[in-house]
């Protein structure tokens, strides 16, 4: 066994082991815990860097297999798509960890919080590196389990209720996914993720394959919050802000979207999926979710809830891109997987900071907040503009590709959906920006904390600023050599055999 084959496992373990260790720390060992957290996040980044280098060169050494049953392997393997997700998660994990340390400074049960936090990230890494459906399923379910304690972290009635709804949705979805996976394995044997699809030999089983695809979409759609399976997401907003940030940008929601990409591209393959007429319904579902999510968002006064519905809508862009049947649309979808993550985490960091610094939870309380917290609100503004699709923020690039992809696939009506959606996005984001920058503060902030030199604790301030800068850089330098676009086009060219 070469060291290369152990690299994917090392990446998964680099947050699993610290996660387990943290449970044994007492509440007072905050320094040790923080050190371990940051060190683990950095180690992971180094490991990921090594992996990127290898995968870019086209190495296929990065695979580890363990047999669970005859003909049933656990496989960790790095390919270009895995890395896209891994880079996103590993980077945002580091930023979120810093934020969480600041945010959770005075709350209870921090060892429990950071332990599960790391285990969540470790599951996400496993999802990204899964080499076949079984492995994906295992880490997908682990993510469900490890997220629950984070959702109910506050231990209040509301938190418990949110957690219960979360589990009901995700466990049911998981059961659908399990059924689909077992069925597909029975039909086709071990299903390895393969560029261009792995089911060519069983393509004639059209009816079972259609049902299996449907089961997959139900199972993955729950986490990706596809309409009408999105109900858990707004209720899970009771979780502490860093958890929401992680859930929306990196872990849970993205795991669902990433899973759909995997299923369409690397299990069925776009060609077979198109032949079985599976992509059209998926596209329609995605479009409905995009619009419905935005419409719900308009009516939310609770800032985190508004952001939650915005996530419902935005994550479906990824699904839309994959369902468009064409390399350009797919490029847009994958770009948005990353862009949405970076922009949405900025927004959640902002929302968390407003709550923690000023006690502000509602949009209607935000009048004049730009003056009090200019840097945080600036970052929030960049994120919001990106979501609407204003250049040069990253969101513009992905929407551009999605639109061009729709034209390329002769589905002009999707352009209409995109435009309507951008309009709706503007309708729920611009009022916030207007209140923050152009209206004056009417009453004292509900719970103002003074953090001295900066507008808020530096650990709450730095992360959103950093991710906001990322959002702009991703938009400005999209076409830089070895940049994100290059990487995505590498994935797409392998998938579409260009």
């Amino acid at each position: 066994m070469s060291w290369e084959s152990l690299l994917p496992l090392a990446i998964v373990l680099s947050s699993f082991i610290p996660g387990v260790m943290i449970f044994f720390f007492s509440e007072k060992q905050a320094g040790l815990r923080t050190g371990l957290n940051i060190a683990a996040a950095l180690v992971k980044l180094v490991l990921v860097a090594i992996l990127i280098n290898g995968v870019w060169r086209g190495d296929t050494l990065y695979e580890l297999r363990v047999s669970l049953l005859p003909g049933l392997d656990l496989a960790l393997r790095a390919d270009a798509l895995s890395l896209l997700f891994i880079i996103l998660s590993a980077t945002l994990w580091l930023v979120t960890t810093v934020y969480a340390i600041g945010y959770m400074e005075h709350s209870k049960n921090r060892s429990q919080f950071f332990g599960f936090f790391s285990l969540c990230v470790s599951s996400t890494m496993g999802i990204a590196l899964a080499g076949n459906l079984l492995t994906f399923l295992i880490f997908y379910e682990m993510l469900t389990i490890f997220t629950y304690p984070l959702v109910v972290h506050n231990g209040t009635d509301k938190a418990m209720g949110g957690g219960r709804v979360y589990l009901m949705y995700t466990i049911t979805g998981g059961a659908a996914l399990l059924l689909g996976v077992v069925w597909l394995y029975m039909l086709a044997g071990q299903v390895e993720f393969t560029d261009g699809g792995a089911l060519a030999s069983v393509a004639h089983h059209t009816t079972p394959l259609t049902i299996i695809f449907f089961l997959f979409i139900v199972g993955l759609g729950v986490k990706a919050a596809l309409f009408p399976m999105h109900g858990w997401l707004p209720r899970a907003m009771v979780a502490p802000a860093p958890v929401s940030a992680l859930l929306h940008a990196v872990a849970v929601v993205k795991a669902g979207a990433f899973g759909i990409v995997r299923v369409v591209n690397d299990v069925f393959g776009v060609t077979l999926a198109q032949d079985l007429n599976l992509l059209q319904p998926l596209l329609v579902m995605a479009c409905i979710t995009v619009l419905v999510g935005s419409m719900f968002a308009i009516f939310q006064d609770d800032l985190k809830k508004r952001l939650a519905y915005s996530t419902v809508s935005q994550v479906s862009y990824v699904v839309m891109g994959v369902a468009l049947f064409g390399p350009i649309g797919a490029t847009g979808g994958l770009l948005h997987l990353v862009h949405q993550g970076v922009m949405k985490i900025t927004l959640f960091f902002g929302a968390g900071s407003f709550a923690e610094t000023l006690g502000i939870y509602r949009v209607s309380q935000m009048n004049g907040i730009g003056k009090r917290m200019p840097l945080t609100m600036g970052a929030f503004t960049i994120g919001a503009l990106g979501m609407i699709g204003v250049p040069p923020v990253a969101g513009f690039i992905s929407k551009w590709y999605l639109g061009t992809g729709a034209l390329d696939a002769n589905m002009d009506w999707v352009i209409g959906v995109l435009m309507l959606s951008s309009l709706l996005n503007a309708m729920y984001f611009l009022p916030i920006l207007y209140r923050a920058w152009f209206m004056t503060q009417q009453e004292a902030w509900p719970h103002e904390h003074d953090f001295g030199r900066f507008e808020t604790h530096w650990m709450l301030l730095t992360p959103p600023v950093v991710t906001a800068v990322f959002s702009i850089l991703l938009g400005l330098f999209a076409s830089l050599p070895y940049g994100l676009l290059d990487w995505v086009e590498l994935i797409i060219s392998r998938e579409y055999l260009l």
């Binding site: 049953l69 304690p149 506050n154 209040t156 998981g174 394995y185 029975m186």
Partner: protein
């Protein structure tokens, strides 16, 4: 190997029996005898397994009499898996009992150890018995020691439950014995391997099948004959509950498995296997729904056993059709996974009861802070019961689903999936409140002895590790019984 396979076979039976007698005669040293002999039993089971893997299945004619007259012990892959399962759970229960029955409780300690070792010996003998009469004898010994252990706590509820358990058990045994008589009268043999070649479709077989199956259903608590199980399992002492639920109820099912595979197989095309499967479905649904409604933790876990036993019966029709190795693999994986998870669940219940004296689920608020290791234990066990990956329960359920889908049994697929969701419901009923913030500090939380906390935790970890042992388990199970060696060999 230092010894022949047959020597190990005798040892795994004689060691616990001898230890039981010694512990009974020397009550003051019962604990030491129990711990030492448990270690030795586990080692000899491992040795037996190794020599089975090396040398294939074995048959031991005790006293050299041979099949029709004497007692034949038979060891194959299935026996080995059952022995190993018993050894693993047994070892954990032994360590747990060390802390659970403290020295000041001399009376219970003096009775627990002989009874438990005796029960262990009966189980091992049962799993190695090659003829249907011998199976009856071992089943009786097992039943009696189990009843005595149930009554050990001495509370009226426990004694009443034990009494009911005794009566049901006796009725079941009598029916089984009557069935044995029919078989013997009809085919003139008791040895399973001989019967396999002698049995034919006919009235004696029908009578025997009905009597034996119903008798074993009573002892094995298959719905609707499960009514005695929840009070017995819920009122016994925690280590006793664990061994009843994890091991004892598996013994009648094991006999059922052997019978249907090797003796009653001419009845494969009758309605009987389908009826068993249908009862299995009913058990899963009824048991799970009851588990969702129980206010007390141990009753919840006991009803979960009723439900989980149902899974074992789902594939009986498929077992008698073709594809036997895969189906047997699925059923046995489930048995083993359930044993580890359920024992861990009951032991964690014992820990909670020990620490707080309160087993109302409603009062589990904030327990994660006071008993983190115990809650984790139940969480891991629950993971396997719900069949979430990675766990032994997941692999078992994967195999079950795979077989159900392969046979096109849609209703089974639906039930297996629904059963998992219901299990998630009742496991979360317990786990959910432990995350809640508690307003007041718990007043009378006692420390859980380390031996209890760690042995329970070890079992729950085993329930997870079993998820990675599937290949080995199936390999071991593939050690097929040797063909008949009547009259010496």
């Amino acid at each position: 190997m230092i010894f022949d396979t047959t020597v190990w076979m005798s040892l795994v039976i004689l060691l616990p029996l001898a230890a039981a007698i010694t512990a009974f005669l020397l009550p003051r040293h019962a604990l030491a005898i129990g711990l030492t002999s448990s270690g030795l039993i586990v080692l000899s089971v491992i040795a037996l397994t190794i020599s089975l893997v090396d040398g294939g299945a074995a048959r031991d004619q005790m006293g050299g009499w041979g099949a029709p007259l004497g007692i034949d012990l038979v060891a194959d892959g299935l026996s080995a898996v059952m022995l190993l399962m018993t050894a693993a759970v047994g070892l954990a229960i032994t360590i747990y009992a060390k802390g659970y029955f403290p020295a000041r409780d001399a009376h219970k300690r003096a009775f627990f150890w002989p009874l438990w070792l005796f029960l262990w010996g009966s189980l091992n003998a049962l799993f190695l018995s090659g003829d249907i009469f011998n199976l009856f004898v071992t089943l009786e010994l097992l039943g009696l020691s189990a009843v005595a252990l149930t009554a050990l706590v001495g509370k009226p509820t426990a004694v009443r439950a034990a009494m009911r358990y005794l009566l049901v058990g006796l009725a079941g045994s009598m029916m089984y014995l009557l069935g044995v008589a029919f078989v013997y009268a009809g085919y003139g043999a008791l040895d399973i391997a001989q019967l396999r070649m002698l049995v034919a479709d006919g009235p004696p077989l029908y009578a025997a099948a009905t009597l034996m199956t119903v008798g074993l259903m009573m002892k094995g608590a298959l719905f609707p004959l499960h009514f005695w199980l929840p009070p017995a399992h819920a009122n016994a002492a925690a280590p006793v509950s664990a061994l009843l639920s994890a091991l004892v109820v598996k013994a009648p099912f094991y006999i059922m498995l052997r019978l249907w595979m090797d003796v009653l197989y001419p009845l494969a095309d009758t309605a009987a296997p389908q009826v068993l499967s249908a009862l299995g479905i009913a058990a899963i649904l009824w048991g799970s729904i009851q588990a969702l409604r129980q206010p007390k933790f141990k009753l919840l876990v006991a009803y979960s056993t009723v439900a989980q036993l149902g899974y074992l019966f789902l594939l009986i029709p498929a077992l008698l059709a073709d594809s036997r190795p895969q189906v047997l693999g699925a059923i046995v994986s489930f048995m083993v996974a359930h044993a580890a998870a359920k024992a861990a669940a009951f032991l964690s219940a014992g820990n909670i009861l020990h620490a707080t004296g309160d087993e109302q689920i409603a009062s589990f608020t904030g327990l994660l802070r006071t008993l983190p290791l115990t809650v984790t234990t139940f969480a891991l066990a629950g993971l396997s019961l719900v069949a979430l990956p990675p766990s032994g329960g997941f692999i078992a359920k994967w195999l079950l689903l795979d077989r159900a889908l392969a046979n096109g049994d849609w209703w089974l697929v639906v039930v297996i999936i629904a059963g998992g969701l219901l299990a998630a419901g009742y496991v979360m009923r317990v786990l959910g409140p432990t995350f809640r913030e508690r307003e007041t500090k718990p007043t009378n939380a006692r420390a859980v002895p380390r031996s209890m906390a760690l042995s329970a935790f070890g079992l729950s970890v085993l329930a997870i590790i079993l998820g990675f042992m599937g290949v080995y388990l199936l390999d071991l199970l593939a050690i097929e019984p040797v063909s008949m060696m009547v009259g010496g060999g």
